[in-house]
Symmetry: C2
Subunit: 279 residues, 2 copies
């Protein structure tokens, strides 16, 4: 059986050009390296070097074996990496969501139902979520619609309603409800990483400018100390707490209400039955 250490030493020698140099890189004595290279030749049953009086170089065999060796060593390293990645993925449930809210309820639920697994959550676009579910990089995904595809197992998991969060002195703070159109053009505060809700920015309020915050705490501070309108949702209030000094005005457009659907592949339905039952 060929020895990967010797092969690695061989590659190092080829990189360095001298035994002394390679030995230093490998934290090995020259003599050991010299011996091991002889062993490698003996094991393969061929010569790999031309030995001059005070110099040793690769011969044609050596150059040929060098390529094979590099490839084999890369494969060996990738075996370890792949094995570890496989193990890690088997201990992990990767949940892909189209918006932050579904993960607020699903993440703790998953943790309690599957205590031996790591729960990994990611916000992504709908296409990435669907393709990720198919290629195994997600085990569960949440979409803002029901794809109605035979290969998925689906269940509605929650609804979310978007509201404007207005300062008390805002001109619309007394209204029962508001449409996107009525607020279009007004500058607003907005959280980053809101996933699916981004369409509001680009499609519903194309004339507004948005002050974007990625940190939830900073965002809350900003909301408290600014007179710019912002957004909130029923789920955000429930799971993240309320900003007392803001008036919530529900948004009347139908797109401001969304139903989230939890999906897994049909063939992994059994594994996540407990989760679907708990919804």
């Amino acid at each position: 059986m060929i020895n990967l250490n010797e092969l690695q030493q061989f590659v190092s020698f080829a990189d360095c050009g001298t035994l002394v140099g390679a030995a230093a890189v490998l934290h090995l004595s020259q003599s050991a390296l010299s011996r091991n290279m002889r062993n490698l030749e003996k094991e393969l049953g061929i010569t790999l070097f031309v030995r001059k009086k005070n110099r040793i170089e690769l011969n044609e065999n050596g150059r040929y074996v060098l390529n094979l060796a590099k490839s084999l060593l890369a494969d060996a390293a990738s075996l370890s990496a792949k094995a570890q990645a496989f193990d890690r993925s088997s201990r992990t449930i990767a949940l892909g969501v189209c918006a932050p809210a579904p993960s607020w309820v699903l993440t703790p639920l998953l943790s309690s139902l599957y205590p031996s697994k790591l729960i990994q959550t990611e916000i992504a676009g709908e296409n990435k979520l669907l393709s990720g579910l198919n290629d195994g990089s997600y085990q569960l995904i949440v979409l803002p619609f029901n794809p109605g595809d035979e290969q998925y197992f689906t269940r509605a998991c929650s609804r979310e309603h978007l509201s404007f969060a207005l300062p008390k002195d805002h001109r619309c703070s007394g209204r029962e409800s508001l449409s996107f159109a009525e607020m279009d053009g007004e500058n607003m505060l907005l959280m980053n990483d809101i996933g699916f809700w981004n369409f509001v920015q680009t499609e519903k309020l194309p004339n507004s400018h948005f002050l974007i915050q990625s940190d939830r705490f900073s965002f809350n501070e900003l909301v408290r100390n600014s007179s710019l309108p912002s957004f909130t949702t029923d789920l955000a209030k429930q799971y993240l707490g309320i900003n007392d000094d803001r008036i919530e005005v529900p948004i009347s457009d139908p797109e401001a209400s969304v139903t989230y659907y939890l999906l897994c592949l049909k063939n992994s339905r059994k594994a996540y039955q407990a989760l679907f039952n708990a919804l």
Copy 2:
């Protein structure tokens, strides 16, 4: 660095299903194997087995790693094999010929010009010769025509003329020359492995039957003791000796004379310059 021995032991265990069985196959004690499997898990940083009280089985990781391991071990084995094949081929000049005669002169010439190399000769068809020259399985080939291709270096190396070798009492033994057509239908003696000359059998004498001999000595005996006509060529006479009691009658058809061309790839022209000069 991963250990191929342990990996091999892992595969053996997977094949056998028990440590004791695998240990026996590997000529190893149970305890050593058990330890090594633990080491393998430790090195990879993952579990590979489910350990029951008196049984050990592959887990999901194990089944996954098994495939990777088999592939890596196969690659490692092929590295040795490839390296040895490469070395062997570098010590060998493979000469492909379309007929026996060119090798009679070229083989000894190659041996004397390249004394450190093994000379390997093979008779093959024209297509195999050309593709073999291109893919490296031949370094030199001899064809009965000049392909006139830019990628080859070519030189005419010899001519051969086919004659009928007739018994003294044959009806045509007094003739100055004979055409194939005049002999078509007559049964004849023939050597096997005559390469290019096979066309005579199928195209020029379609109505004759041939008594085929693969051994040169048996063939000569047969020729001496039979009244069937056979063939000879000027080169065969020169290099293999003459059958005294046969009358040679040259064949008048133009196809009975052939010029052989020696070819190598342009980029290996320098390596075989000495050979081409010697022709």
